[in-house]
């Protein structure tokens, strides 16, 4: 039996003295598309950042593919197959688009950059421009493409649709689904557009003040009007 790609046990984390995540536990089987939902400031970003090794962890363990990565620094986790698209995009402003993509390659040959251009032709047009010169949506494309280039086995996406045109959003969600299926990639998605997230995911976690308040399938969530109203603050889906 293949090891579970991502397991989290009793995780608590935060910033300096401020505790944000409390006692979060879940496991994601291979090829799962997990959506993490929650209202503003409930700790979704913090959860992904902690998984990527970028915030302070107070307690708990994280295992990737069976190995304990709790103490590993960010770079080591990345080399073990973790991909991270942060909410703030974090494009390298003084690097060109091509150089930005190059950093995401990890150890793959340079020619692989073409994959990113195939995914977003817009980036190819702008390949010689600096990251800081890109439009908001272009930065979002770059950030996503950069992480996918490294062929991660687990991909953490923090609001990857923000600022993208509706056509692109559709295509991107299709592409993610494709990656999860054929590429055997486990995807953790944080998204504000609840409908898009539910369409995409096969499992859902809802965070409330840093704790897991609800977990189940998208269909179950759509049917649980009370939870949707209380935890997500919207008046119902579909």
């Amino acid at each position: 039996m293949p090891a579970t790609p991502l397991e989290v046990e009793n995780l608590s984390a935060g910033y300096g003295p401020t505790r944000v995540l409390e006692d979060v536990s879940f496991a994601v089987p291979a090829g799962t598309r997990l959506a993490v939902l929650g209202r503003n400031g409930m700790g979704k970003t913090t959860l992904l950042a902690t998984l990527a090794g970028q915030t302070r962890r107070y307690d708990g363990r994280i295992r990737m593919g069976g190995t304990d990565v709790t103490g590993l620094p960010s770079a080591a986790r990345a080399m073990q197959g973790l991909g991270f698209v942060p909410q703030a995009r974090c494009v390298f402003p003084t690097l060109t688009v091509e150089e930005n993509l190059f950093v995401g390659l990890k150890n793959r040959p340079k020619s692989a950059i073409q994959e990113a251009y195939d995914m977003f032709p817009r980036l190819f047009e702008r390949r010689r421009n600096l990251g800081s010169q890109l439009s908001g949506g272009e930065q979002q494309m770059l950030s996503t493409a950069r992480s996918i280039l490294g062929r991660p086995s687990i991909l953490l996406l923090d609001e990857p649709l923000e600022g993208l045109a509706p056509v692109i959003c559709e295509e991107l969600m299709k592409a993610f689904a494709e990656l999860a299926k054929t590429g055997d990639m486990t995807i953790v998605l944080v998204e504000q557009r609840i409908q898009s997230a539910l369409d995409f995911a096969d499992r859902v976690i809802v965070l409330e003040r840093g704790r897991i308040a609800w977990t189940g399938t998208p269909e179950a969530l759509a049917g649980d009007h009370d939870a949707v109203e209380r935890l997500l603050g919207v008046g119902g889906l579909h």
């Binding site: 970028q54 960010s74 390298f92 150089e99 950093v103 990890k106």
Partner: protein, 288 residues
């Protein structure tokens, strides 16, 4: 005409010496974003090692230079691990405080170990004496410095702009956390870059020792010069630093020739003028 040529030669030689000594600072300050006021201190350490090796141990010049570069790097490695690593990404003023502190310590130690007198690095026979250019003589070691400057400039430019390491370095500087999330081992990238910068400082300290003689206060005496040259060029840009050195060298030399009593005015007015026209330095990297 002869005078003009002659001044041009002097300006070129002076500019290149400035370049060789300060370029390491452009790496730390422009690329690693550390306001490293201790740059001169590392140049000075290089000078002391070379002086000791060549004068007291009687080693060959080339060997003394190598020893200076690697010796300084070896001394700098623990300093990087223990001190510099703590200030990467810290506010500039904190970096100023730390690196001035390091400078003070190095000065104090140098004063204690080597005493306050001037130290020279004896030149090998080939570099002594002058070359006759027809209309004037120029010291051979200055020609050597010019060549060194060109080689360093080309090598460094290539390393930063064209190699994978250069891309990773620039990415780490832009956003260390993100670079790490993409698998870049930022501490190693930083340590290597720092070692390169320190090695260049030591190299410059030795090559430039004829012009800026080595003594304990070297570290502070020329700090401003290095800082000015690098910032006018636009920190982090090798061509920018080169142009700045040549330009400032020319202004300084011409000013000192035409009206030496206003030499300082000339130089600093030019600095102000250049920065007012190019507020990010001649070839400043956009900071995002």
């Amino acid at each position: 005409m002869q005078t003009v040529l002659s001044i041009a030669i002097d300006a070129l030689a002076y500019g290149m010496v400035l370049f060789v000594i300060s370029i390491g600072l452009s790496v730390t300050m422009g690329l690693m974003r550390v306001v490293n006021l201790a740059h001169g201190a590392f140049a000075m350490i290089g000078g002391y090692i070379a002086s000791y090796a060549a004068r007291d141990l009687g080693l060959a010049y080339g060997f003394a230079v190598l020893l200076a570069v690697f010796g300084t790097i070896i001394i700098a490695v623990p300093i990087e691990r223990l001190l510099y690593r703590r200030i990467y990404g810290a506010p500039e003023l904190t970096q100023v405080l730390m690196t001035i502190g390091i400078t003070f310590c190095i000065i104090g130690i140098a004063n204690y170990v080597f005493g306050p007198t001037l130290k020279t690095v004896p030149l090998p026979g080939e570099l002594q004496g002058s070359v006759d250019l027809g209309f004037r003589a120029i010291a051979t070691h200055r020609i050597f410095a010019i060549v060194c400057g060109l080689v360093v400039a080309a090598g460094l430019w290539y390393a930063i702009e064209k190699t994978a390491f250069g891309v990773k370095l620039r990415a780490s500087v832009d956003n260390a956390a993100m670079a790490a999330a993409l698998g870049v081992r930022t501490e190693i990238v930083y340590a290597v870059s720092f070692a390169v910068a320190v090695g260049l400082a030591a190299f410059g300290g030795v090559v430039g020792a004829e012009l800026l003689p080595v003594e304990p206060y070297y570290a502070l005496r020329y700090m401003v010069t290095f800082l000015v040259v690098v910032s006018v060029g636009g920190a982090g840009s090798i061509p920018g630093a080169l142009v700045a050195c040549l330009l400032l060298g020319a202004i300084d030399t011409t000013g000192r020739y035409l009206m030496p009593e206003f030499g300082e005015f000339f130089f600093y007015l030019a600095v102000i003028a250049i920065i007012c026209v190019f507020p990010r330095g001649l070839a400043g990297r956009a900071k995002g």
